[in-house]
């Protein structure tokens, strides 16, 4: 069981990118070219979420910074539930109504997927009071 940090702060992102993972498995190619694929698990892994928060206030940037710290950097895992940043913008893809709904495609809660920081977030000072932040998360099966 990994260390669990607090939920990601509820800040609307400027852009969001999801790279869905794949089911673990291997493929074997015989000498005649035929391919056999073997699936090892029934839960998808390797999901990546990238957010950019453009020109947000210093206070919101501080929330992300402190969340990263509270998660002990890239160590801790955390959830992305309905109250977080994934509910916004694409309700047909991710409705966020119930945490375990199969329509929560960003959080993928039915598979026990949680996130951790793939790398330290990057903070860029824009002007006094405004910063831009880039956050990259990677999905972790933690159940």
């Amino acid at each position: 069981m990994s260390y669990t940090g607090p939920l990601f702060p509820n800040i609307a992102a400027s852009s969001r990118s999801l790279t869905v993972g794949d089911y673990p498995g291997s493929s074997f190619r015989s000498q005649n070219g035929a391919e056999v694929r073997v699936q090892y698990g029934n839960r998808r892994v390797g999901t990546e979420l990238t957010f950019s928060f453009d020109n947000i206030t210093d206070a919101n940037a501080a929330l992300i910074h402190d969340h990263y710290n509270d998660c002990r950097g890239t160590l801790g895992v955390f959830g992305v539930d309905r109250a977080s940043l994934t509910q916004q913008g694409n309700p047909g893809f991710h409705d966020g109504t119930t945490p375990l709904s199969t329509n929560n495609r960003f959080s993928a809660a039915p598979w026990g997927l949680r996130y951790r920081y793939a790398e330290p977030p990057q903070f860029t000072s824009i002007k006094p009071g405004r910063m831009s932040v880039t956050v990259k998360l990677t999905g972790v099966l933690d159940a």
Partner: protein
Amino acid sequence: MTYYSGKNGTLTYNGSSVAKVSNWSFSSSVDTLETTAISDSERSYVPGLRQATGSATIFYYDDAPKPLLERIIGTSAISESDILSLKLGWGSKYVQGNVIITSGELNCAVGEVMQATVQFQFTGAVTGVSL
């Protein structure tokens, strides 16, 4: 009520008046920083950084444009001492600030009075304004 025209215009640098000014212009603009979120249907912005630029055309009468031109045309390196205090005036009104001369142009043509054109970039906020 008073109209202003070119007759009322003045150009002053470091406290000294520049003679034979044909025209000057001043422009100020503000960058916008986009704050649109993925859940929004309308773009939103907050004010970003402000800047001001200007230009002036001066008849080459005696050494009238020399103090401005030698800030950019010369054999020595440009330094921070080349930042000028410039005042663009009309009547009792004015815009004043510190500027860097960013370009200088000399124009000499048959049948025309020789002119010099300089463009300048304000650095920092304007230090005085009366509109």
